[in-house]
Every structure is written in C-alpha cells, then in structure tokens.
C-alpha cells in the first residue's frame, strides 16, 4: 500500500522510477531524486537498480547452470542437473527447429536470453511493495526491481542481438552480399533506393520490436500490479492472484518469444538469400 503521505499518482510514479546515478545539472554526482531529476542527468547516468538486479540474476543463472555443468554425470542425473538438462533440451530443440546453419554461439545465446529474461520477469511476481519498502528502510529512495520494465535493459539485449545479426550477415555473405541483400530486394535494381529504405526499416525494426515487445508487456504487467496494490487491503488478493497466475504465462511466453525471434533473425542472417 501507498504510504500515508503519498497520493496515488505519487505512489505510482515512485514505483516506476529507477534508482539513477549520474551528474546533476549543477555539476555534482549523486542519485537522482525523481524522474525529472534523472532525465536532467542526460545519457551518462546509470540505473543502478536495473544493473544490480539483472546482473545478480544473471550470476544466479550462471552459478546454478555452472554448478550443474561442473560435474555432469552421464548416469542418473540429480535434481538440479535434471532441471538444467530439461531446459537445455528445450532450448536445443527450439534452436534445431528454427536454425539451419551451424554456429556454436546460437544455442548458448538462446539459453542465456531465455533463462535471464525468465528470471528478470519473475521479479514481477514478487509483491510490488516488498523490495522497494525494504530499500527505503535501508535508505534507498527508489528501487525498480523488474529489470525488464526498464527499456534500457530490453534495448540492451535487443541491440546485442542486432549487433550479432549485422556481424553474421557480413561474415556469412560478405559486405557486398549483405549490401546486395538490402539493395536488390524485393524490387529490381533500378529501384535501389526504395529497396534500401524498405530493407533498412525492416532490419532496424527487428531490435526495436524485440525490445519494445518485452518492455511493453512487462511494464504493463507491473503497472497493473501497482494499481492492484492501491486497492483496499482485503480486496487485493481477488485481483492480484488471478493476475499473478496469468502473469506466470506472460513471464515464460515473453522470454520464449524473445528467444525464438532471436534464433529466427540469426537464422535469416546466416541464409544466403531469402
């Protein structure tokens, strides 16, 4: 619930503000108080909560998977190894379904994307007030615990994928081939500028759609949890429970969509012509 000294809109705003560290307009470095102050810091500022939570979760993911991978038994697998192998098999199947080329990077990339996004999205299921209030108790003014509700996070992953798309397009087809794919398709050569425009838009829309889809879904989900949290105390569970159950689906689904599209985009980057 909102604190007694906060209005509803202040409560929502508080929950949607990142803990941003950067340079204040007056030249001093520190944590921004409020969204406007954060905006004034410009580009060279860091969302400490997004970075911290996502890296923590990434390390958690790698810790457990590394643990399973350090002494993998070929006999009957233990619980953790069984779970990890189940996920691996699922990813491997997805990759084999959509990716035709041979690239040792694709499967681990997909695994990282899937598990990391699932973990970050799952932070959405932690009741919205728990962690921010705990943060306030130890003196952290703002804390947004779901990294995927921060566009920085989703765009970072999408640009990472975009970089790989460009990299492999050029590596597989050569710079000329890549340019030819952009310029001489779908119309004949004399319409080259038009082709180039179309293909560039479709190319650039790939990372943007990836990032915005994930961000939009998680941001809306978080927003609804915040709105539910403003209901009277006894009524909250009637809405938050169904929404949380539905959200479990979204958490997995969005991670799966992000992963599958990554595989498909990279598969397209590996193909000579489409």
């Amino acid at each position: 619930m909102s604190g007694e000294n906060l209005t509803s809109s202040e409560y929502i705003k508080h929950h949607l503000t990142n803990l941003t560290y950067g340079q204040h307009p007056d030249g001093s470095w520190g944590i921004a108080h409020g969204a406007d102050a954060a905006k004034e810091m410009g580009f060279w500022a860091l969302n400490i909560d997004t970075l911290g939570v996502s890296i923590l979760l990434g390390c958690l993911f790698l810790y457990f998977f590394k643990k399973a991978a350090t002494s993998p038994t070929t006999g009957v697998p233990s619980g953790l190894q069984n779970f990890v192998e189940m996920i691996l098999e699922f990813i491997d199947d997805s990759v084999k379904d959509s990716f035709n080329g041979k690239n040792p990077l694709i499967a681990p990339l997909s695994l990282t994307i899937f598990v990391w996004i699932v973990l970050m999205n799952t932070m959405d299921l932690v009741p919205v007030d728990y962690i921010p209030h705990l943060g306030q108790l130890i003196g952290i003014p703002y804390l947004k615990v779901v990294p995927t509700t921060d566009p920085n996070m989703t765009f970072a992953m999408a640009f990472g994928v975009f970089f790989l798309i460009i990299f492999y397009s050029i590596k597989v087809k050569g710079p000329g081939g890549f340019f030819a794919e952009l310029a001489f398709h779908p119309f004949p050569k004399f319409l080259m500028p038009f082709n180039l425009f179309l293909e560039l838009v479709s190319l650039i829309s790939k990372p943007i759609s990836l990032a915005l889809r994930l961000f939009g879904n998680m941001y809306a989900g978080e927003m609804i949890f915040i709105l539910i949290a403003m209901l009277p105390f006894g009524l909250q569970w009637t809405l938050s429970v169904p929404w949380a159950i539905f959200h479990i689906l979204i958490v997995i689904l969005q991670a799966f969509i992000f992963m599958t599209l990554t595989i498909v985009y990279l598969s397209m980057a590996h193909e000579e012509s489409h």
Binding site: L16, T17, N18, T20, G22, A35, A38, K39, M41, G42, F43, W44, A45, L46, N47, T50, L51, S54, I55, G58, F61, L62, F65, K66, A68, A69, T70, P72, T73, T74, G75, P77, V84, E85, L88, E89, D92, P104, L105, A107, P108, L109, L111, T112, W116, P147, D150, P151, N152, M153, F155, A156, M157, F159, G160
Partner: protein, 159 residues
C-alpha cells in the same frame, strides 16, 4: 524510463553472460547429455540382444530337454529288455541248480538207502548169527559147522 548509459552496461553484461554460457555451461552439459543418450541406446540394444539370447537359450533348452527325454525312454526300454533277459537267465540258472540239487539229493538218498540196506543186512546177519549161535550153541560145535555158517552168511551177503 529514459534511455541512458545503463544501455551500454547491460549490453556488456549480456555479452559476458553469453560468453560464459558458451564457454563453461553449454558444452559440458551437452556432452554429458550426448553421452547419456549413447549409453541409453547401448543399454537398450544390449537389452534386446539379451532378450534374443534368452529366447535362443529357451529354444535350445527345450531341444535338450526333448533329447534327454528320448534318451531316457531309450534307456528305460533297454533296461526293461535287459531285466527280462536277466530274469530269464536267472530262471534258467535256477532250474539248472534245482536239477543239480535234486540229482545230488537223489544220489545221497540212494547212498543212504544202500548204507541202510548194508546196515540192515549186517544186523540181520548178526541177528541170524546170534540166532544160529544160540541154536548151534545148544546143538553143535561152532568149529565143526563153520563151513556151513560161512556159506549161509555169504549167501545172505549176495542177496
């Protein structure tokens, strides 16, 4: 909500995670899974082979059993024949033995009869002599009639 340098930090973190995953997580797990898959396939093949072998062994066992049964019945037949022969042989031997024993007994009886006759004759002769002695004692001298007595006694012996 605004884009800032977090973007760069997250991109770096993302690539480090992917690299780590590619280097240390994916290959060993995949290798282990592959190996287990092979092991399971091997195990299944071995199981099938075992079953086939088992079937063969069962067939073989049935054959052996049948052979053994046939052999056993042969042996029993042979034994029966042999037993009949032995019984016949024993019967023959017994009859022979019985005949032998009978013959022996007859000879013995004859001997005994002869012995008894001899004894009887001696007794009769001695009785006769005694009687004659009595008579002669009262009538004649023994030395005088010795010839007559001897004749009689020799006549008795011929009888």
């Amino acid at each position: 909500m605004n884009i800032n340098a977090t973007l760069i930090g997250q991109t770096i973190a993302f690539f480090i995670f992917v690299w780590f995953c590619m280097k240390y997580v994916w290959p060993p797990l995949m290798a282990a899974m592959e190996e287990r898959k092979n092991k399971i396939a091997e195990g299944l093949a071995a199981g099938e082979r075992g079953q086939k072998e088992h079937e063969l062994a069962e067939k073989r066992a049935i054959e052996v059993l049948q052979e053994a049964r046939a052999e056993a019945s042969d042996i029993i037949n042979l034994a029966n024949v042999r037993a009949g022969e032995m019984v016949e042989e024993a019967k023959g031997k017994a009859t022979e033995e019985a005949a032998k024993v009978k013959k022996g007994a007859e000879a013995e009886i004859e001997q005994e009869v002869a012995g008894a006759r001899e004894a009887l004759r001696e007794e009769v002769s001695s009785l006769a002599i005694a009687a004659a002695e009595q008579i002669i004692k009262s009538e004649i001298n023994a030395t005088k009639h010795k010839k007559i007595i001897n004749d009689i006694s020799s006549k008795l012996g011929a009888a």
